[in-house]
Assembly symmetry: C2
């Protein structure tokens, strides 16, 4: 039986023993949510050339003769729009230029359209408006060619996709999704059982893990047969990077997970954890495949999945060298709570802003079997063994939106 | 030209004029990320009956005869596992019962396996352990039949799916996804253009809006032709609930969006907003279809999409009666900043915990065209017109993970 911290250390060590996920290439429009497998460097600077930040007029400051008057004129000649490769600046003239258009070589100033007047092909402007570099976006001012745009293990979203597209990148090297096998078992799930129950854990885990980018295969063994369970575990282990079982890890006659694991030759990495809910949580390994043996109570399953499986999955999918914990947020507690002396407590909480501070409130829960409580919560708060929280104390929690 | 708040009010009013999204039924395993169209009430209580919270032994307290001794014995008879419909309690006997199994009618106490001894078919237990209701999860203690489990407009994830599955619900009524049409145009996107550019905004918006659950159709008009643009807008408007255009809303010769909108008979709801970046942002309406005319600079497009399009999309998809803003988080500023006197400033910021407080740091940005800055940021901070932020001031921001 291990503490929460000890369980984390074992999982963190386990991550390092896993083979690196294979790399595959996906089209950029399918890259959202995938994890970048290599760092990506700029192939070209951005902007790619000096370009106009305005609709206006481009010329060369040195062409302007100071006549001692406040205003001057320049004949208008060329016309440049975005997409053009403009002719070099023609000395003594100005070019009409639109936003984003390439600056003619030799021009060094752009005056915004609304600052000037144009009559009979002549641009009239104030001398005081003229300055070298004005309204010009310089080549590479956002980033230079060769700069690191993204580092490996970055989970991609619209922000990164925009960057990649700016580099004309059409295919992205990403890690292939983690294949997770999820297995529930029990005679109570047989439709013919006198007291037949809906099996909650596999759809719960399927939705939770798929949202993280995993490819999930679920099996419900609708009996208490060890042979059926063994067949399901063997089959899924062959095609999974991670296995998750739920239920059947107590010592009752229908608790088949551990005997089947033993028969299959799985190694036990730890047996039970000092946590509430989730105490029966057991970690095994069958050949290269980590097996998270979660309790059968759906509340405990959900909590163990959030606290242990998701960070491990994230580490795998982002190829991180240690357990990739999700960010926490700080706030004051609006409730008092005492953790057991020998167990880390995990509770569903709501989070709200009250003035400048965040406030956590406890979501009433009926314990390990409760699934309703999660749908009322914003996240999970963690309280170390023996620790008492008083109203007003600072606490931290992981919000579901960060997970 | 409208202020940020005025723009929000116009959008909020616009939401109420839209027809309710149609309802469709999806299988529960496809419901993740969808928006519930009706409230859902419990069809059955949870637990559905009194069940055991433990592996142990069930009996009736009244059967125990107080002999004045500390321990007593009861003959063991039945055996109940989850899924069984047990026979009624047999007076004077105990039944072995596994976690989750239904309590025999008439039994009222369960003693955990580890608290007793069993010899020769007799259960030996301490009288002090006996109490009515012990280790029994009562019918409906999590929720009663008829209770409201979920309200309409709830965006579904694993938490809600678990609840629905517990009720044996196989199909869920959800709003159909919002169909968003996204159009970019410009001769610079033609592959044959002398200074050909990658078109960034449509893939950026495609990824951002799809992540929110929208069905996005993108068109890139690779010319400055008004006819091409008009054809694309007409086509997409017919099949979209919302249109988004990017670029072409200045007054240059190649800024075709407004002339085309006028030709199509679109109504202008506002022209330009007092925001930075994103000043050119214009809101139109073509028949029933709201059209967000975003600036062409990708940094400004991304900012306007985050600040205006996403809340509007969320209101549509969740059928909310007002603009559905995303939650903000509070923290101290690590930088000073002064917004223009006539524009709300939006800046990409990072967020980090420093002790008990959150700290925002400014991500350097080159302005409206910058896309790199978003990939370095955690969220967007908003500063009202004329307001100056000093180092250490409390500020609020919306984090990308909440959006």
């Amino acid at each position: 039986m291990v503490s929460y911290e000890h369980a984390q250390r074992i999982l963190s060590a386990l991550v390092t023993t896993l083979p690196a996920p294979e790399v595959e290439y996906v089209p950029i429009h399918q890259a959202d949510g995938r994890v970048l497998a290599t760092a990506l460097h700029a192939l070209s600077p951005r902007p790619e050339a000096d370009i106009s930040a305005m609709d206006g007029y481009a010329f060369c400051c040195a062409d302007i003769v100071d006549t001692g008057q406040a205003r001057c004129t320049i004949p208008l000649q060329d016309y440049v729009v975005a997409g053009d490769q403009p002719a070099p600046h023609n000395k003594g003239t100005a070019a009409t230029i639109l936003t984003g258009a390439r600056l003619p070589t030799g021009a060094d100033c752009i005056i915004a359209r609304e600052r000037v007047e144009v009559h009979d092909g002549l641009l009239h402007l104030a001398l005081s408006d003229i300055a070298v570099g004005k309204n010009i976006r310089r080549v590479g001012e956002e980033f230079a060619a060769g700069s690191t745009l993204l580092t490996a293990s970055q989970k991609l979203d619209w922000r990164h996709i925009a960057l990649l597209v700016s580099q004309n990148i059409k295919q992205v090297p990403v890690y292939r999704p983690c294949r997770v096998g999820v297995i529930a078992s029990g005679a109570e799930f047989a439709l013919s059982a006198p007291d037949s129950r809906a099996e909650i854990n596999t759809p719960l885990l399927h939705a939770m893990l798929t949202r993280q980018g995993a490819t999930v295969t679920s099996r419900i063994v609708r009996s208490d047969s060890r042979e059926d369970l063994q067949a399901a575990i063997s089959e899924l282990a062959e095609h999974s990077d991670i296995l998750v079982t739920t239920g059947g890890i107590s010592v009752g006659q229908t608790d088949n997970v551990l005997p089947v694991m033993e028969q299959l030759g799985a190694a036990c990495l730890f047996r039970r954890a000092k946590i509430r809910p989730g105490k029966p949580f057991t970690l095994m390994r069958l050949g290269p495949v980590p097996i998270f043996c979660l309790p059968g109570n759906p509340g405990a399953t959900a909590m163990c999945a959030q606290v242990f499986v998701l960070p491990f999955l994230r580490s795998w999918m982002e190829h991180r060298p240690t357990l990739a914990l999700f960010p926490t947020i700080q706030g004051r507690s609006s409730f008092s709570f005492s953790a057991l002396s020998d167990a880390t407590g995990f509770m569903p909480v709501t989070y709200a802003q009250s003035g400048k501070e965040g406030v956590f409130s406890l979501v009433p829960s009926q314990g390990a079997s409760d699934v309703l409580c999660f749908s009322r919560a914003d996240g999970i708060m963690q309280v170390p063994p023996g620790q008492a929280i008083e109203i007003g104390d600072w606490c931290s929690a992981t919000l579901f939106c960060s997970v």
